[in-house]
Symmetry: C2
Subunit: 236 residues, 2 copies
């Protein structure tokens, strides 16, 4: 091959992917190798939303959308796990920001906690697939430690612990549990709600009546927040 192909830039290099994918992307200039990196992350984010599942997004599909060959991706990311982690991590800095913002509002500690809970749930439901990738169990364990060192999720968790500690000092929150343990409990409740709601959404999109008799999302969210609110106060 490459036999008689005159390097006619103007039109011989038409769509490498006729159907849907992008045509061949022009090569980056010498210092601008990192631009491809950003385009890859963008494509991953799009495909993740479209397919809804990390495993349904192949490296090849990403490469095709960007208009590049699959190995080019490995010039910027060590493997698929790191690629997806980086993609979702970027989005999660926004969540961390929103949580810190909610934690810094005026009002009682309980009110601030509720704001944080709402912000968390809203954001996680908004970016469902990304959220699931970042929280996806053991797979996160494969990421190199220095990447996780400044994980936005951990920063956000620290804010939660601090807020709860503040509430304990202010006498708004029960004192029979460690602030960190209470923070994990709160996180677990909110996280669990998000996971269940995302599961349900996925099931509905598959037109399969998996969870038949559940209340609507809003009622679930309100119930979880009410549970947390009363739960952190204690004094049954």
């Amino acid at each position: 091959m490459t036999s008689a192909t005159v390097p006619d830039r103007s039109e011989s290099r038409r769509s490498t992917a006729p159907g849907s994918g992008a045509s061949r992307r022009p090569r980056a200039r010498k210092g601008e190798g990192n631009r491809l990196r950003e385009e890859i992350l963008q494509a991953v984010a799009e495909l993740l939303v479209e397919k809804g599942n990390k495993d349904a997004v192949s490296i090849r599909a990403v490469a095709k959308r960007v208009g590049v060959s699959p190995p080019a991706i490995y010039l910027h990311f060590a493997d698929k796990d790191e690629l997806f982690y980086q993609c979702c991590r970027g989005g999660f800095q926004e969540l961390s920001r929103r949580l810190e913002e909610a934690a810094a509002t005026a009002g009682t500690v309980l009110e601030r906690l509720e704001q944080m809970g709402r912000a968390y749930i809203d954001y996680a439901l908004e970016r469902g697939p990304q959220y699931q990738v970042l929280m996806a169990g053991g797979e996160t364990g494969e990421i190199s430690p220095e990447l996780l060192e400044d994980d936005p999720g951990l920063r956000a968790f620290a804010v939660l612990v601090d807020t709860i500690g503040e509430g304990i000092e202010a006498g708004e929150i029960r004192t029979d549990h460690d602030p960190a343990a209470l923070a994990v409990a709160v996180w677990a409740a909110v996280h669990g709600a998000v996971m269940l709601l995302l599961s349900r959404r996925a099931a509905e999109e598959a037109t399969s009546p998996v969870m038949p008799d559940l209340p609507p999302s809003d009622a679930t969210v309100e119930a979880v927040l009410a549970l947390v609110r009363s739960g952190v106060v204690g004094g049954s």
Copy 2:
């Protein structure tokens, strides 16, 4: 491969799996085809525990362990999803049983709820990978509806809703939320705790310090149960 190896029939009746796997399983008698089905499910359960992750267990590995060729599995299960679902579903009937048992003990509704919560968490942590497979988001949505109709998880959820309704009638539980919504909230809290603890365990097994400053599992479990206990009572 493609090394043009002569198919040496002369001693071809050697063990197909020399290293670790089982050797070739003797063929079942004519009416006993279902015995293979049970052996497959057993092998899947074992491999799931060993590998810790559904995606790390291949059909070929299952077949090798059973001592059978990969296509034989498709005589008993439609695809990989159904195979794993059936495997985990079997284990989950035990959970459902334990929950119903806990719901039927003597004591106040709150005490019974706590027993149920403990039984749920214990069981989920005991069979971590199975639990995750069954709860694994959108993938469950691909299972045929009639399978899910008598999902043990749904039966268990109904028990939870009933118990909470009972508590509302007895005046032990807050009345400002729907019993089903409250049940989802309780479920979410416990489910979230399990997921976080399983994530942490997986991270530790990978010798990667993912979640550095978290309290130990016991404290987390107690905090979540306390949160739920106070949370369902309400009256902050």
